[in-house]
């Protein structure tokens, strides 16, 4: 089955020893796992500097058709070039996906920076990705501000990634209440994860992702391939929903 991976990272990490250690190895792995395209950030944009990391990501996405650029956006841009220039850059590069790391990048979900990024995303019809670990408090509970952002910015589709399976009831609540909420299940290892989610909310806001190279994609593949849901739902999750987001 055709697959588009919404959650992929180019580059290596200083924090953990990975099986995939270079950009090219990751691209080669897409073939091994039959992944047609992947939405990618560069690890440097997350772990070191968003601006130079995004440039590095663009170097790769320009020369490799399988890779779809995802910008890591942060207030670093505001203070380096201003939001207006950042907007121009995003338009010029035809960016459809932006990822934020408020905790890692020194801003907060509650603050003005996040509101400004959401406003820019709404204006440019950009979809916004965020890891679950970036929106939980010190006790591991989801911060209320996340729901407020979903409510206050209905024009911005928010894609939650790396959700732990222990949070399934919270995810159900987001899917139930916010039509602009999307989620991928690379770490959502619940029994009957897809079956339960599709039965309750349909398949249209479920996306397929791997978190490669931090997780190997085999688990994401089999959780979908063995799911007891219709082929239409499987295709929606594997690539059709993502294609709509890429076009829309």
């Amino acid at each position: 089955m055709k697959r588009i991976d919404v959650h992929c990272v180019l580059g290596s990490s200083a924090n953990v020893k990975l099986e995939i250690t270079s950009e090219q190895e990751l691209i080669d792995s897409l073939d091994y796992y039959n992944i047609e395209k992947a939405i990618v950030i560069h690890s440097m944009a997350r772990d070191l500097d968003p601006i130079s990391g995004n440039e590095k990501m663009l170097d790769w996405t320009r020369r490799e058709d399988k890779l779809i650029p995802c910008f890591v956006l942060s207030p670093h841009y505001k203070y380096e070039m201003g939001w207006a220039e950042t907007e121009k850059l995003l338009r010029k590069e035809r960016i459809r996906f932006v990822r934020i790391y408020p905790r890692l990048h020194g801003f907060t979900l509650h603050g003005a920076h996040t509101r400004e990024i959401f406003e820019m995303a709404a204006k440019l019809h950009i979809h916004l990705l965020i890891d679950h670990s970036e929106m939980i408090d010190a006790h591991g509970k989801d911060m209320e501000i996340f729901e407020s952002l979903l409510k206050e910015h209905p024009a911005v589709n928010v894609i939650l990634t790396s959700v732990s399976h222990r949070n399934n009831m919270v995810i159900y609540s987001y899917l139930e209440n916010y039509p602009n909420f999307y989620v991928e299940f690379s770490a959502y290892a619940n029994m009957l994860a897809y079956e339960e989610a599709v039965r309750r909310f349909g398949s249209e806001r479920l996306l397929w992702g791997t978190d490669m190279p931090f997780r190997m994609p085999g688990s994401a593949i089999t959780m979908l391939s063995y799911a007891d849901i219709s082929m239409e739902d499987k295709e929606n999750i594997a690539y059709k929903n993502m294609e709509k987001l890429m076009e829309g």
Partner: protein, 274 residues
Amino acid sequence: MLIKEYAEQGKPLDHVLVIDVHSHLGSSPSIYMPSASKEKEQAILFTTMLDQVGVDYAIVSMMRGLFTNQLEANLDLARLMEVHRKLLGYVTYIPSWQQKSLEIAEQCFSSSDRFVGIKIHPDVNKYPINGPDYAPMWEYADSKGLLVLVHTWSQCPYSDPVRLLDIAEKYKNVTVLIGHSGGVEPGVTTAIELSNKYENMYLDLTGVFLCSGRPLDYFVSQANPDKLLFSSDAAFNSLTWDIGNVLYARVSEEIKEKVLGLNAQRLLKSFLIR
């Protein structure tokens, strides 16, 4: 057809033996689990999934017998295993209920040939693996040559796998499955070292792919492939998630077959499996 190709198409793994050595029936307070309050219904859901993936056997323990002191749940499991022949069982042991745990265990082992060992969860029961209240269980398991599946997690006060050092030396007739292979580092390294050092220690793989990010390829490179056991932690986790890491690993078909079922079959040689 390669094992990976079955997975790609979502076809049951009918041509290989698959044994899930770590699964459960019942509920857990922090997550929603389908039919969690109706164990009979959940057993049907679970065994349907086993058929769908082509899993031959799953060794289950009852959540009620770990999270509460309803140790009678083990007797309910005995009845469920009569209906669902793919299910084998672990009896649960709670250290603060030693006498009752052993009485129920004895009833289970004498009345059913479907039980293969004991499951303990030192974190849930807040008692260290090598503490004296677990000693009667270790002695019982040692006398019967049972499997003991021990939940372990790195640096947790009760379940750190380093606590198994004492056990391996003392109870040589027990086959210890190191639950979750320690979960995350440095526990994973400790678990691998234990399995490499002691003949009777095996690595139970559920949760460790998810939480440590280490794929099967890593365990194959660091540990004896004969000591690696596929497991799912269902119904708490997803069997279809965990198995993918094995099916798509960049290791030989022979190793995949060992991990999926042949290693467990060797441990269960006295039980009636194909």
